[in-house]
């Protein structure tokens, strides 16, 4: 019986190896297959002792060759390992790493989203004879071992919302959060709360959670992974992958194919994207690698679970140690602890005090701020850099003096005067006629309520521009689209349903600003139209122009494409950041430019947006993010791109928390990573009419979910109906609406308030 079981195990190991190496011919795999086949053929003729001896030899051979095959693993093999049904999953971890756990909000398929598991777990630690049960909130995607209802760990928006809710609970209860990333990507549907918008919310809230967060990556598929992976310590299993896009998706984009890409191209893309644990450690996106047994951890590898337990405890201890002062001996012991030592031996309490919580947030912010800084090209000379540093220091001093010191006293004084005046007025009204007439004679509060300043009266009663003929200032554009020079007509896409007549390009792209005069459909316009007609770019001060996109992963053929984009657009990256005035209010604006590589966001764009947010915070200005169009994160930058999601969201959160106004305006098509992070996290998101906003395009949704997408699924009006955005603006009114927003929205620290 024992022999049968061992033989079966060997057959299962061979099947696993065959699955991992796919159709590739491999001498070691062939040898294993041959030896096992030979044994199975001869076994009926052999005696028990001989069978036992041969099985033992086969087991040794398997162990030896598995070790050899381990060194031959390609990135694509690792992808197959993490997707394999025999791969460890979160339930195995809960069973083997934690001492006790209770699943919250789900039991197999009876769950709001069976793809995600939330559990309260405990880890028992001993201190002398005493045992302390330390609670943690465990959240992660559950792939199940072939359980179809888990949807492969692809989480629906409401699943991520549930995860976020329990992260908040952990924050309230002051217990650490351990997140396990086992996802190929988020389930890309827009139903409320919406894939992109929910991931953005998760990132925004996680940036401010005041408890230690440890993330362990096995399968880190882009936005789906980021939804729970913004952590103080990020560990990665040695056979895992962490990538901006699945290799299959990258190959489809790379090959420009609508059908499935060839296995060779997919393998090439997996190689180029630098998705392995070693790559991510080298790039600085994870802190440590947790070694797995050869060819990846499976549920029977109990030694691996013991190691994982030590690692998560150590990581949590380290976080606490970095923010909370432990005893000098414990601190030294933790620092000197070897990799194989058991961290359980040194007791560390995981609940944090108020001061430690503040420090934790600052360290988390610093950690992400430092990531991928070298992944873009900074063309500033040394003198310019020195000047920028000096300028920044001066601004800090200026801001402290003007806003923190002078303005505070000014506000206090004006508040005092205001109170005094109100008192006097109350006295006048409260005491009736005698006092009122007395005060009236003395001139206190003597201005009549209906009296109007003369200039306002003049402005309201005179004829508008009487000497300048016609006064249609709203139709006169500083920048006129070159498309208006074409001598042709244009058909509105709504003509069949709305009966729109053809429009002359000269009228449409000139006076009408690309808006159908019949149905109001907005034709796409160049980003320059917005720069000059909305943001007064001619008078603006552009900063950080020297930051340019680079090819940090040396992705084959990408240098050429990047150079093409740069020469075509005259820009260094897809983001322009500048300071400008909107109706007299000084603002910081960041624009994502669609013609530059589809407005994709990489390290340069992320860094520019972060610096713009920091500038706005320092100068106490509103921060407007205009997305002329973005196709998502730049896949050729791999994780250097995807890490911009938490990085920029943290910067934006810091700015909003500081009391600023962060306003997002979408145009044309805005999809994927940016919407699922720093764009979608804004409390004030508006869209230009006829624009599209979403997480994944219709093709990707159809391919991933099998659902058919109605034609207007991503339209701004649908996004508004779902509550994803806060309003839809007419292109011709953007400047007016922005000014209105500046006057009515935003926090307390805006300088003009």
């Amino acid at each position: 019986m024992d022999i049968d079981k061992r033989t079966q195990e060997l057959a299962s190991r061979l099947a696993y190896i065959t699955d991992i190496f796919g159709p590739r011919e491999n001498a070691s795999v062939a040898l294993l297959r041959h030896r096992l086949g030979e044994f199975l053929e001869q076994a009926p003729k052999l005696g028990m002792r001989e069978i036992s001896r041969q099985v033992a030899r086969l087991e040794e051979l398997f162990a030896l060759l598995e070790g050899k095959l381990e060194n031959e693993l390609t990135p694509m093999d690792r992808v197959r390992i993490v997707r394999h049904p025999q791969r460890i999953c979160l339930k195995d971890i809960l069973e083997n790493v934690y001492d006790n756990y209770t699943e919250i909000g789900g039991q197999d398929e009876w769950s709001i989203d069976p793809g995600i598991i939330i559990a309260r777990a405990t880890i028992a630690r001993t201190m002398g004879k005493k045992t302390v049960h330390q609670s943690v909130m465990v959240i992660g995607q559950e792939k199940g071992h072939g359980q179809e209802f888990r949807n492969g760990g692809s989480i629906k928006p409401w699943g991520n919302a549930n995860a976020l809710y329990y992260m908040r609970v952990a924050d309230t209860e002051n217990i650490p959060i351990h997140t396990y990333v086992f996802t190929p990507g988020a389930y890309p549907v827009e139903d409320y709360p919406g894939a992109a918008q929910q991931i953005a919310k998760n990132l925004y809230v996680m940036a401010g959670l005041r408890v230690p967060i440890v993330s362990i990556f096995s399968e880190g598929g882009s936005g789906g992974a980021e939804a729970i992976a913004l952590a103080d310590r990020r560990l990665m299993l040695s056979h895992g992958y962490y990538s901006v896009i699945s290799p299959e998706g990258a190959a489809a984009i790379e090959g420009g194919l609508k059908a499935k890409a060839s296995p060779e191209l997919i393998a090439q893309c997996a190689e180029r994207l630098c998705i392995t644990a070693e790559d991510n450690l080298r790039l600085g996106f994870i802190d440590r690698i947790v070694p797995e047994p050869p060819l990846g951890a499976r549920p029977e590898h109990y030694e691996f679970f013991r190691l994982l337990r030590r690692e998560v405890i150590r990581a949590t201890d380290e976080i606490v140690h970095s923010v909370e002062t432990l005893g000098p001996l414990r601190g030294m012991a933790i620092r000197r602890q070897g990799a194989d030592a058991d961290p359980q031996d040194i007791f560390v309490r995981w609940s944090l005090g108020q001061k430690a919580k503040r420090k934790l947030l600052q360290l988390r912010h610093d950690k992400f701020r430092a990531m991928s800084r070298s992944a873009c090209r900074d063309n500033r000379s040394m003198s310019v850099r020195a000047y920028n540093v000096l300028e920044s220091v001066l601004w800090v001093a200026h801001s402290a003096l003007r806003h923190d010191f002078v303005d505070r006293y000014k506000r206090n004084l004006s508040g005092l005067l205001e109170g005094l005046e109100a008192e006097v007025r109350a006295l006048r009204h409260g005491l009736g006629g005698t006092m009122s007439s007395l005060l009236g004679r003395t001139g206190v509060g003597g201005v009549r309520r209906m009296e109007m300043p003369p200039d306002a009266l003049e402005r309201l009663t005179r004829l508008s521009c009487p000497d300048e003929g016609t006064c249609r200032i709203e139709d006169v554009w500083v920048y006129v689209s070159p498309k208006s020079r074409e001598d042709r007509t244009q058909t509105c896409p709504n003509s069949a349903s709305h009966g729109c007549l053809d429009l002359w390009a000269r009228d449409l792209y000139g006076e009408f600003a690309g808006v159908c005069s019949h149905c109001g459909h907005h034709f796409p316009m160049e980003f320059q139209w917005y720069l000059y007609n909305v943001f007064d770019y001619g008078q603006a001060y552009e900063f950080n122009r020297e930051l340019e996109s680079d090819n940090p992963l040396h992705y084959e053929g990408f240098d050429l494409k990047l150079d093409e984009a740069k020469s075509k657009t005259g820009l260094g990256c897809s983001c322009i950041t500048f300071e400008t005035f909107i109706e007299g209010v000084r603002t910081v604006v960041a624009v994502l430019v669609s013609p530059f590589r589809g407005g994709t966001v990489g390290a340069a764009e992320g860094e520019k947006i972060i610096r713009a947010a920091e500038r706005a915070m320092l100068k106490r200005m509103p921060f407007i993010m205009y997305s002329h169009g973005t196709a998502g994160i730049r896949i050729q930058e791999g994780t250097c791109g995807v890490i911009q999601m938490p990085r920029v969201t943290m910067a934006v959160r810091q700015y909003i928390e500081a009391g600023g106004l962060y306003l997002v305006l979408y145009d044309t098509n805005s999809y994927a990573g940016p919407v699922a992070s720093f764009l979608g996290c804004s409390p004030y998101q508006f869209a230009v009419r006829s624009s599209n906003i979403g997480f994944a395009g219709p093709g990707v949704i159809r391919e991933t979910t099998g659902l058919d997408i109605p034609p207007q699924y991503h339209r701004a009006s649908s996004a508004l109906s779902r509550g994803h955005i806060q309003g839809i603006w007419d292109r011709r009114d953007i400047r007016k609406n922005l000014y209105q927003a500046l006057l009515t929205m935003g926090g307390k620290n805006l300088y003009y308030r």
Binding site: E486, D487, R488, T489, Q490, T491, D502, P710, P711
Partner: protein, 216 residues
Amino acid sequence: MLNVKEMLEEINASPYEEIQIKTPHTGVVEFVGLKPDDRVVGPTGKWHEIPGTLLANLTREKNKKPICATLKGSVMDLRSELEGQFVEAGERLLTIRHFLSKEEVIGRILKKALNLFIAPERAKYYFAPEIDAKIKAGGEQSVKLRDGMEMFIVSRMKRETPLAYSGPDGIIYAVYFQQGDNVDGGQPLIGVCPESQLSLIQDVVNRVQGEWEERD
């Protein structure tokens, strides 16, 4: 009195609908290589979001506009002499002969035979309780209608008002709405036929169901 034989003969004589494809405005016509008797399809997709077969392009002021098939059928009377010519608005380019399906034939017959009672506004419609009870007990055809009879309850924004039937007396032949669903104004709610013609209509429908040959 409904003349079944005549009606069927009429449909059998021309079992198709001919749709003339005309230019929506002036422009230069460019056909796309269609030949007479070529099969074309109308808009497809769950939401009819995929346009029908491209029939021709019409270019006016450098604006090339596709003209697509609106129904399934075969091309006939293709005016290939117009290729490359400037034409006026409303000029016929070709005709699509669309063979009627079983459902369309039945629809045509019922349209002639039945009196349709139309929803006056967008609202949720329910049968009045007595009518509803009768339908549940004995089927739709057990309800005898007369002019002025309280027939429906119109529910809109939680406000419920009665709606009386108006039209010739008869019985309900078909119900075209689901109780509790919103019905747009102008959509038929029920089809009513005189009691005497019920068997006749049923006979016609059965014959079409059994005998009609689908061409597409």
